[in-house]
Symmetry: C2
Subunit: 221 residues, 2 copies
DNA sequence: GAACTGCCAACTGTCGACAGTTAACAACAT
DNA sequence: ATGTTGTTAACTGTCGACAGTTGGCAGTTC
């Protein structure tokens, strides 16, 4: 999907390790042994260490002095704090998108929404990839590179939390409606409404994720 | 001030290098030679490389493959994008602060404002440290660790831009008024007003910084 | 039986050295 | 004189090895 056109081994290691963590192949809470993973990737410990530090700065891994890196396990408070950050960023992005969007942006947003709804009705499931694509399209319309960059990092951590989370059709349906309302507000050039719709959308997603995680924790414990 | 109680050399190198860059000792646009700086810090290239990568992830340095790291030079578009991000974060923080602040938070904010005004009138100058202290106090009142973390990173980049920027008493006076208005809105538990005051405050700071930078560029060119 | 102490293995933190790439300089041809 | 090409020096990217620390285990003592 994303072109891994890095030259350095460290850059490649970042992509591979990130994928390993985000797909859950390295599960939440698991430790990352440097020599073991270095051997697995066929590189030395130097570049791998740089990759680990990089992913730690993204929040994909956490570092403990003299005890290496491990995949973080999130508490309910962590999730709420993360979604407060996400709301700050994406609400602002929604406002900017409502101000700066072109006709092409609106068309793209509508296309992603239509594709999402079609996919949902066809497979009775809302592919998360399309959800990401929608938010990405909104960020493109906002034309604020720094905000987009930060949202990408936050979404990455959200993906991390989602690993092993069961689907919830009613929630997916609500998200589809939220997206449509968001596009309408952006198309109408109504920043305040776009921001408010986004805030409610993210609040819903957050609470759904919290119940899902607490349920998973309850299942595990 | 901040306790540099890191254990690893890489951690110490991060602090030292950051200080070197933020104080302008390593000027904007300058390249960072690994062997040279490693010798200067009395450490090997390994830890220094990790420190450089870390600072690059913070935006304090930029990396170019096979050409090392250098201190970034900002364009007007970069400054605007950065302040869009800062506005997204700090407006949200202002809203949260207006919702969650305790009496102690308000007292602390008022104390910082009073100290700022006193310092301004005494020395005809508004120490930037007190400006940072005010925004920090507001973040404390917001009680959103993730947002606070991101604001800290953004402020760091703003400090980077400020290096070698002349003072502007009228602007400082306006900032003092903005801060007072912000405290009033937070004390009144008025999130919408707090957000709006913050937005205008940051817009003013941004435009002042742009004129200051463009003037500096004109002087240099 | 429980708690403390000393040892040991595993792992991280750090270092010095080698290989590959880049950019600048110089020599040459046009 | 200018454009091109070969050469070289400097620097980054990478590796393997050593040292210091941490956590666990066995042995001992109360």
């Amino acid at each position: 999907m994303t072109p891994p056109l890095h030259l350095s081994l460290a850059g490649q290691a970042v992509d591979v390790l990130r994928e390993l963590v985000l797909t859950g192949e390295i599960p939440s809470g698991a430790r990352v042994n440097e020599v073991e993973v270095a051997a697995r990737l066929g590189i030395s410990r130097g570049p791998l260490r740089e990759a680990i530090r990089h992913l730690a700065s993204e929040g994909v891994l956490v570092l403990v002095p003299h005890r290496g890196a491990h995949v973080p396990t999130a508490t309910a408070a962590d999730v709420r704090a993360l979604f407060e950050l996400r709301a700050a960023l994406e609400c602002a992005a929604a406002e900017l998108a409502a101000t700066r969007r072109t006709e092409a942006d609106v068309a793209r947003l509508r296309a992603v929404c239509a594709e999402s709804r079609r996919s949902y009705q066809a497979g009775e499931r809302f592919p998360y990839q399309l959800d990401l694509a929608f938010h990405q399209a909104l960020l493109d319309a906002a034309r604020s590179p720094r905000i987009a960059e930060q949202v990408r990092l936050v979404q990455q951590r959200v993906v991390l939390l989602r690993s092993g989370l069961r689907d919830d059709p009613p929630h997916q349906r609500a998200s589809l409606d939220d997206h449509d309302a968001l596009v309408a507000a952006v198309a109408a050039a109504d920043p305040a409404r776009a921001s408010e719709v986004m805030r409610k959308h993210l609040a819903r997603v957050c609470s759904q994720m919290l119940t899902g995680l607490l349920g998973a924790e309850a299942d595990a414990g």
